[in-house]
């Protein structure tokens, strides 16, 4: 009886309209850059950036490297770089992740992922993914797990994480890929049947992130495969992950 009361009390928790959900203003998402405000040319933002995501002249932020710590925003008294709470950061192309000055979020979002007919035909109704944690710190892993919980409930869109690569339509890579995980990652990829997708989640998987300079990494695998979807963040919010995948497979 207590169990039934608890179940009733729990109710329905999932976010109903997932593509229009708003995040708190505190969330650090898309960086808006206004180079005209950079008047003293101090280059401090470039030198303090822990992952080397900022390039000067012309000013740009590579959100494939950025860990969204916003130290550059608080360091710059002119307000040149500002992180806003827009979270849909997924992109099908690596070079689109480099955000130049003046780029608005709406503009970025409309260009970053173009729904492709063949992708929609193959994966639009059901997409099963095998996640491979390749030396990730457990941040991205926890957010990917959260995609399936009662709040975000990714399963209702036909997108699920499965246990076996044999059941999967693609792999999701998190982490900078350590030497010790390189073999297992490649084995998992080879075990997935064609046609298959590769999705890189988080700054570490996309660029090495904060671990870029480590001598214990082996990122050769990424030279052999084409990454179909990049989902930046450190770690990316579940809404970022789900919406990026939905946009990519053209699910409406």
């Amino acid at each position: 009886m207590d169990l039934l009361i608890l179940r009733l009390h729990h109710g329905y928790q999932a976010i109903k309209d997932i593509s229009n959900a708003k995040l708190s203003d505190a969330h650090r998402g898309f960086p808006v850059i206004d180079e005209s405000k950079c008047i003293d040319n101090c280059r401090e933002c470039e030198s303090i950036c822990p992952t080397g995501a900022i390039k000067i002249k012309p000013l740009s932020v590579d959100i494939g490297k950025c860990i969204f710590c916003s130290e550059c925003e608080s360091f710059c008294t002119n307000g040149t770089i500002k992180f806003i709470n827009e979270y849909k950061l997924g992109s099908a192309e690596r070079n689109k992740l480099i955000i130049p000055s003046g780029k608005s979020f709406a503009n970025y979002h409309s260009e970053a992922i173009k729904a492709r007919k063949e992708i929609h035909k193959l994966f639009g109704h059901s997409l099963k993914l095998r996640q491979v944690s390749s030396a990730g710190c457990n941040g991205c892993e926890m957010e990917l797990s959260a995609c399936g919980n009662v709040n975000f409930d990714m399963g209702r869109f036909g997108i699920d994480f499965v246990a076996s690569p044999r059941h999967a339509d693609g792999i999701v890579i998190t982490g900078p890929i350590s030497k010790n995980m390189a073999v297992a990652l490649e084995d998992a990829y080879n075990s997935v049947n064609h046609p298959k997708l590769v999705i890189a989640v988080g700054a570490c998987a996309i660029s090495g992130g904060i671990f870029t300079e480590s001598s214990e990494l082996n990122r050769e695998f990424l030279e052999k495969v084409k990454i179909d979807l990049y989902i930046p963040g450190c770690p990316p919010h579940p809404l970022n992950v789900i919406n990026s995948i939905i946009d990519f497979i053209g699910k409406k």
Binding site: L6, S47, P50, E213, H237
Partner: protein
């Protein structure tokens, strides 16, 4: 002192009730210096001792007398090549994983033979979305006789990265947040405190309180997630959903403070980056009152359900003697009756100003490790509310300073998983020379291997989750 004397002294002190919390090497020119750090929890005392190796290639192992030293000695051997003679199990820690590194003599797993004995290998990629590690079970039917755990897949060379990038303080803080993504506040707090003490920077009471609030929020969030996962492992799906939804609410509260669901971006050298405004304070207060009611309601149903208790009770038992012998820490140790909690034994941040009650249980089974999480959640809610409602005034950030030269500093704190210890050594030009990190998982992985012995192999996921250990924190 000579290694012979150091060894004798360590054995004598540990037998007298001290605990080994660090044991590591540091290269100084041609010499290798071995440091050992001991603590006495009841007296809140710290002992540091060292021994210099000038070309010697081995020493007499401590492990046969003090089992809790086994991983420390293996790690020291792996990093500096000085062999602990007569170490019973000199297996690689993070490098030389069987079949991956081309080392001359690959490591051979412990092998059991006999009629109807079989082995089950799991990993490094697991069924769920979790970190990689390899488990090898030697079973007789369903019963596990022996579990061997192989880690190191996550090794990213974090300790070296600290030294490589010592010039950028922002890099150092962010790297400490990525030691393990589930203990962001725990590790980054321990690291920045070490750096602050080494540069004689004292932080304001307000910054201390905010750090404490965030650390307790992290503890609540992970404990809720663990109870949710434990419910899922025994097919109690209502618990899985209810506790999962409560966790979401708490990590969203963390995000409303610092913009990230795991607390990234909060810590900075000299204080914190984010304040808690009056409105935010009221909001958090309301959330915590709500959480207290919700968690009590849900936990009472969970812990009175016969089907749950049947799986939780008497599963994966670790007795108090074993826990002490292998040097367990954190809630897992407290669930086995070991009275340690760094918040009260070695207070830091706002814990210096009030007493944290050390909560312990005796049974040492999955039930105790689940239930202790529930009472720790309630305790943490009280701590946060007290800090919130008496939030002192003060600067968020103090001015930074250069590090002291030729110094060694030990920073201890209690993350949600247990005791975190960072040691920092500086050179004569005030730069970082060695950063040694220890996640509580370093002590507790071996406890998991012991907990599943003589249990059914199907209880492994349950035992594993009841410890919820970190792969990345161990592998570094």
């Amino acid at each position: 002192m000579p290694i012979y004397d150091l060894r004798n002294q360590l054995i004598e002190k540990i037998k007298a009730g001290n605990r080994l919390v660090q044991f590591f090497g540091n290269k100084n020119g041609e010499e290798i210096i071995l440091y050992a750090v001991l603590v006495h929890d009841n007296l809140s005392k710290l002992y540091i001792s060292s021994s210099v190796f000038t070309g010697e290639k081995d020493y007499q192992s401590i492990t046969p007398v003090i089992p809790s030293a086994h991983l420390f000695e293996r790690e020291f051997y792996e990093q500096f090549g000085i062999e602990p003679k007569e170490h019973p199990w000199l297996k690689p820690v993070r490098k030389g994983i069987a079949g991956i590194d081309n080392i001359e003599i690959p490591y051979k797993f412990f092998n059991m033979t006999g009629e109807e004995v079989h082995e089950v290998g799991v990993g490094p990629i697991h069924a769920g979305i979790i970190e990689p590690g390899y488990f090898r079970f030697s079973c007789h039917g369903e019963k596990v006789h022996y579990l061997e755990i192989e880690l190191g897949f996550q090794h990213r060379g974090i300790e070296d990265l600290f030294i490589k990038n010592y010039e950028n303080p922002f890099f150092l803080t962010k790297l400490s947040e990525s030691i393990t993504g589930d203990t962001v506040i725990g590790h980054s707090g321990t690291f920045v405190r070490a750096m602050e003490s080494l540069s004689n920077v004292s932080i304001s009471r307000r910054a201390k309180s905010i750090r404490t609030i965030m650390l307790e929020l992290e503890r609540i969030a992970v404990h809720l997630g663990d109870i949710s996962a434990l419910s899922g492992d025994v097919a109690y799906l209502t618990g899985n959903s209810v506790f999962g939804a409560l966790r979401t609410k708490i990590i969203n509260t963390t995000m409303s403070i610092c913009g990230n669901r795991f607390g990234r971006g909060l810590m900075t050298l000299g204080g914190v980056n984010y304040d808690i405004s009056f409105e935010l304070k009221n909001k958090i207060n309301t959330t915590l009152d709500w959480l207290n009611d919700e968690v009590t309601l849900a936990a009472e149903v969970l812990f009175s359900s016969a089907s749950v208790l049947e799986r939780f009770e008497q599963t994966g038992v670790i007795g108090k003697d074993t826990a002490l012998e292998i040097g367990m820490v954190g809630p897992a140790a407290r669930a086995s009756g070991v009275v340690i909690d760094a918040r009260s034994d070695h207070p830091f941040d706002a814990y210096e100003y009030f007493t944290v009650h050390k909560l312990t249980l005796d049974s040492g089974d999955v039930f105790a490790r689940a239930y202790i999480r529930y009472i720790e959640i309630q305790h943490s809610i009280k701590i946060i509310k007290e800090q919130l409602n008496n939030l002192p005034e003060g600067e968020l950030k103090s001015k930074s300073n250069t590090l002291q030269n030729d110094s060694l500093l030990v920073s201890i704190s209690e993350g949600w998983r247990g005791e975190i210890v960072h040691v920092i050594i500086t050179d004569s030009s005030c730069n970082l020379k060695r950063v040694k990190i220890k996640d509580p998982s370093f002590h507790n992985w071996f406890a998991l291997a012991l907990a599943v012995q003589e249990e059914g192999i199907s209880d492994f996921p349950l035992c594993n989750k009841s410890f919820n250990l970190s792969y990345s924190g161990f592998d570094l």
